[in-house]
Symmetry: C2
Subunit: 335 residues, 2 copies
DNA sequence: CCTCGTTTCTACAACGTTGTAGGCAACGTT
DNA sequence: AACGTTGCCTACAACGTTGTAGAAACGAGG
């Protein structure tokens, strides 16, 4: 019961191409012809076959967003903004969950979705510049710091500056034993490395020692990892009076661990996160955090992709920076 | 720089169809021919054009999952399970965010994605059975209760039973003034209606009064709505000793409002939610909740879709039920 | 050596769409 | 009256793939 241009054409008594012209808004169609065709389209509930159109035009109107995990709130929120921004360009967004592994990301990047999508917005965790080097295919925009001098357009935020600023805020509150949660040894942790650098900068600027014992690694950045890292810090005897968690889910886990240990936030330990996810506005206590402008990140990424699609595909890669601000809530402020 | 079957065929010195046969795993190909073709494929980094394949075969290997909002944790978690379950069938999942409005949902259902996807898993909020009646198109599986006697396959959970059970748990704790948060007046609130019914059943079964003043509506089911509803209950003077929130985000908002009012959970007020989202395992206190088997919901939905695609499209609609269990945590239990 | 069946491969057409080229009529200009 | 221009429409081919039909090569059985 699905109809084609041909069916509409027969019903309206015109050629297939004329129907195509009406569908595509071609100007030179007589008003009465147009009306007849539109009537036939409505009667048959005709919808163009996107695959056929793509095959002919080379465009699908679909872009993909590839993120490591959808149930990490930051990515879910980002996905929402990307869908919204893409809608302004008439694009549908296919969301792909990579799982974050290098091999899976390679598969996505090298284009399992190839030929179905016009472009890709990609937030890689494990992928390296070499993995991307051999790709001739789909235009791509990268999010985040992972691929340092990759061949593709990028949208980043100033991780070092943001980390320095929020650590500086803790110092300004009079805290002196400031822990960090979320460092990573592997190459995968580009964001971790930059945020750790900013943390170190802020300590140095304030004349504080950088104490290895206060820096807790976290292989993944989930709530459970944050809680485990916090428990580790508490039992190790380093007695922090503040914690900078490298993202909000780590911080929410840390809040939980502090609560279980009977410590008060912020009186005993101040806590800050990074990402400004919805949860942090309702947690107990509410969470101070670095708030990247996610709407702007999404918009910039979509615009970069649009430029790449319409313009020069061989043009040199561009890098745009999105702003952030500090959201100061209860976890650093006594009421 | 993108290659076609023809390029591979020329390089391997065979016909286009033979390459196609190799790509599709056709058996009657001589080993040495196969090897030569595979070598050519590797050298050219050939990837099939999915649009062309779809045009020819009528299948894309892509299904869509349409949910109201991605940054509602329940849907994000569900999306993850659907992606995983679909991978077992070799399907890619396109995730579509409807926004939950009736018109937007109609657009999705009537197939803006038409011709690109083989099937649709749809979690509607506002859509009615009539909206779906006229759809001839893509096979569809519905999630949740909204469309009562729709023409499509469905996966549901026993909302009434689950609500009755968790309310019964509160009664078993000795609570007598049990509030409910999340009721909805509009037709859209099918889940709300069923959960409210289960709540009422449990009260009746225990010989408790159903008190209108203890039932707080919430138009949306976000944290902010839960917090607002809880504040309303507290200022209205009804003094509840327990609250059943119709989902977990409402419950997290309620926890926040109780905290702000200086009430202890669960000592002064016990709180339960519905959905078992990740947040509830780390909130302060951790949240007792109804845990629907999301993995099972996703698997059943994908299987229903697979049956519909491979089997009889005109077969009568089926309805499958997924199990749930109670997750009892701190918000109903003193340590 | 012939016949028959199987294996291996190829030519062709078709999926639904749109770009290109072109035809025909109506119009305005010389 | 002849001409070019414009508006409106159509026929055809092509996008990259695979199903169908069948040709060619090969082996087994008589």
């Amino acid at each position: 019961m699905r109809h084609r241009l041909k069916d509409v054409a027969e019903r309206a008594g015109v050629s297939v191409k004329t129907v195509s012209n009406v569908v595509n808004g071609y100007v030179h169609v007589r008003p009465d012809t147009r009306a007849r065709v539109e009537e036939a389209i409505a009667e048959l509930n005709y919808r163009p076959n996107l695959s056929a159109r793509h095959l002919r035009k080379g465009r699908t109107g679909v872009i993909a967003l590839a993120v490591p995990e959808l149930d990490i709130p930051y990515f879910a929120e980002l996905a929402r903004y990307v869908v919204t921004a893409a809608a302004d360009f008439g694009w549908t967004v296919l969301i792909d969950q990579t799982g974050g592994g290098r091999e899976q990301e390679r598969v996505v990047a090298s284009g399992i979705t190839d030929h179905l999508i016009d472009g890709l917005i990609f937030s890689p965790l494990a992928l390296t510049a070499e993995d991307l080097a051999g790709l001739d295919g789909t235009p791509m925009v990268l999010l985040g710091e992972r691929v340092d001098h990759g061949p593709a357009d990028r949208v980043v935020i100033d991780n070092v500056g943001a980390a320095r600023e929020i650590t500086g805020h803790l110092i300004g509150l009079g805290r002196r034993r400031i822990a960090a949660i979320g460092s990573q040894r592997t190459d995968e942790g580009a964001s971790a490395r930059l945020r750790l650098a900013g943390y170190g900068d802020a300590l140095r600027a304030a004349g504080l020692d950088y104490d290895e014992a206060l820096v807790a690694p976290a292989s993944a950045w989930h709530r459970a990892d944050g809680a485990a890292a916090m428990r580790g810090l508490l039992t190790s005897g380093v007695r922090p009076d503040a914690v900078f968690c490298f993202n909000d889910t780590l911080a929410l886990g840390a809040l939980r661990a502090l609560h279980e240990a009977g410590l008060r936030v912020p009186e005993d330990v101040a806590v800050v996160g990074f990402d400004d996810i919805e949860d942090g506005r309702f947690s107990i206590p509410t969470l101070s955090t670095v708030a990247p402008d996610k709407a702007q990140i999404a918009r910039l990424a979509v615009e970069l992709l649009a430029n790449r699609l319409d313009g020069d595909r061989a043009a040199p890669a561009r890098e745009l920076s999105a702003p952030y601000r500090l959201e100061l809530r209860e976890s650093t402020q006594t009421p």
